[in-house]
Symmetry: C2
Subunit: 412 residues, 2 copies
């Protein structure tokens, strides 16, 4: 077990001047190397791998205050604070995690892990394969949510955490939290699942498949070995991201944000009668697609969308999700958002009904928010109050010094 | 005005043996050539053009029984019956149009016109440009719904039809019907608008834009002049179609049709852990995309999605749709389907509310059907009963020989 001071991201004196109130400050990515082979659902074994992580707060003496935050498709281990590598890079759930925030880093020791197969520091398709000295490319094994849980469990082992106070995540992150509670029940005290689902629908899989086809049929994809050609399938990846982006927003939200506003109308508001950018929504989607295609790895996109498709804990129990989740020992919090049409409230209610059927402890909130699936990332007062209250309840069960715990009782 | 016998598709003696009950029989495409220049919304002018049409039934003496059927994105003038060119090609609205069917060809003279810019016989981007002797390609002008109405009006002139008993269509076809009622009010007695909208939403435009990006960024697109390279952007077009297809079906319908059924599972129902076809829904979408990319012209896809985006009669009236539709003299029938999330019932209700506000005659039905946007093409009993009743009401206003009219009073 490492010295706890080495696994917290303490802000440096220089950087602290521009750290916003409630921020965990400047954080450094830590890299953990694992040499023990990792058997995968596919039958393959990864002989060794690295995982990029960040941590915030301090692990308490009995290692009972750890919270694992699992990320969704395009996010990373950089959950909160300011990246030491890039001061403009604020963690993707910075509004949720920090001193005095709903997941209070004065109380909890919070861990973000970049998933295996991703492209932000953990071993993935773009990494050098030890056996060949070249990027894995198409040879990188397909992973599942369960594989990620196995890899994350080794991070917990390394940090000396036997049982998490909470495992939490939104969307695909919520699936990982569910999978933790099911596959490693004794290691999860609370399971927080936001804007998620017990399994993808045919429509969800359909959108993923279209995105994958856009990538795979891009001639620059080169069968997944585009690294060797010094190129990337940027057009395909851009189209994939544009499709995804539409499904993250609600119809109303898009209407509110963009409506039919023209980008740069011709004289008297006329159309240009062409296929360039005519409407604001086109400009926005193109920008999102192009930006994404510059920083995200196309093979990772394939891999993560496939892990989404494959997630289905009830596959082993003949479709009976209640039976699948029965082994869990956690207390559950489920949250959904009314305008989320990617993983709508019905999907969360399925999970709740399964838990209730089994007599397992569950709290459920359906938040009336206009922002579609993306709502889980946004700072909505009712949503955050609920999360705060839930984590205060968890905090009350912990052996945390009074000095630390006090801050969570004061609203920032 | 042509001889009426030349503008009906009478079945040949040979083919009649396999004509199903209620079918208009074997029909031949007719080509109408127009030499009078057509001014377009874009400011361009088309100096001459051809339109492919089909007609069913017989025009009565005072030319008062004509019904114009406008088609949606990927359909054509082949509305009903069996194509003389291909006996497997049944018209896209054959369940709606025919002897004894809701739009009864024993009573009505029905016309289908392939839209200008489409790829089923009418002049479009793949046609030879007279000035150059080469395909139009990227030089073909962008068209609008209003341009189609102008072109269709010339078909009516050619056939001697001053006023249609009804102009009708679903989806984009419904927009053309609306546009007819607004721009040529004295020529439309009844306007039937099914599963349509007064304008596209930001989400609708977003999906169209992603589809266009998939086509335009396909290297085989060659800036729209792929004909000269003897190729087609089939991957981009296939992705475009897959996106479209998802939006035509309801989430529930896809769940019902495909669920998470695996296509050819590995041993014991296991996954294959790859990016080939794993689920039925993937197989279906890939098939639809590939089939489409073999028969549909990519430039036409761009053109028609743009016409969809641009449709907005209220653009000229400061966003006030009631004011935009006020000139219409037609009696309106509006139909929407509960699970249509492409053009949901709210959009049809906007049209109805505008008509009611103006005191214009309107009938509205919201059909509880599970099939999403595609429902407008399907044979739903409540939907078809309604259409039948509405067209019987229209028939009662016409001077149609009793012998013909009788058949519409007997259910087939």
């Amino acid at each position: 077990m490492p010295n706890s001071s080495s696994i917290q991201g303490a802000p440096s004196a220089q950087a602290s001047a521009k750290i916003p109130l409630g921020s965990v400050g400047v954080v450094h990515t830590q890299f953990l190397h694992f040499d023990e082979p990792l058997p995968l659902a596919s039958g393959h074994t990864l002989s060794s791998y690295d995982l990029a992580i960040e941590t915030y707060g301090t692990l308490n003496a009995d290692a009972s205050n750890a919270v694992l935050i699992c990320h969704a498709l395009n996010a990373s281990h950089h959950v909160a604070g300011i990246s030491a590598e890039n001061p403009d890079d604020i963690g993707w759930w910075d509004n949720m995690v920090g001193p005095g925030k709903p997941v209070d880093t004065n109380v909890f020791f919070v861990i973000g892990v970049n998933n295996l197969g991703s492209c932000f520091g953990s071993t993935g398709p773009a990494s050098i394969r030890p056996e060949t000295g070249k990027p894995w490319g198409a040879a990188f094994p397909v992973l599942t949510v369960e594989d990620w849980v196995s890899a994350q469990a080794r991070v917990a082992d390394r940090l000396g955490i036997k049982r998490f106070a909470a495992v939490m995540g939104g969307s695909l992150g919520g699936m990982q939290a569910l999978s933790w509670a099911i596959t490693l029940p004794e290691r999860v005290a609370h399971c927080v699942v936001v804007a998620s689902t017990p399994r993808l629908s045919a429509q969800n899989i359909g959108f993923n498949e279209v995105a994958r086809r856009a990538i795979i049929t891009d001639p620059e994809f080169h069968g997944g070995d585009y690294y060797a050609h010094n190129t990337v399938p940027r057009h395909g990846l851009s189209v994939a991201r544009m499709i995804g982006h539409i499904t993250y927003l609600s119809d109303d939200d898009m209407a509110e944000k963009f409506g039919r506003t023209q980008r740069e109308p011709a004289a008297n508001g006329a159309y240009h009668y062409g296929y360039g950018v005519e409407f604001e929504v086109e400009s926005y989607l193109r920008y999102q697609g192009e930006k994404f295609s510059k920083y995200f790895d196309a093979n990772t996109y394939l891999l993560i969308t496939r892990a989404l498709d494959y997630f289905d804990p009830a596959k082993k129990t003949g479709g009976d999700f209640a039976r699948a989740i029965a082994p869990a020992q956690a207390d559950f919090l489920l949250v959904s958002f009314t305008t989320d049409w990617r993983f709508p409230p019905e999907r969360s209610r399925e999970i709740v009904q399964a838990l209730l059927k089994n007599g397992q402890p569950a709290t459920y909130a359906e938040i009336d928010a206009p922002h579609g699936h993306d709502a889980f990332l946004l700072d909505d007062a009712r949503y955050h109050s609920l999360m705060r209250a839930y984590f205060l309840r968890i905090a009350a069960t912990l052996d945390v010094p009074q000095a630390l715990r006090a801050s969570s009782e004061v609203r920032p």
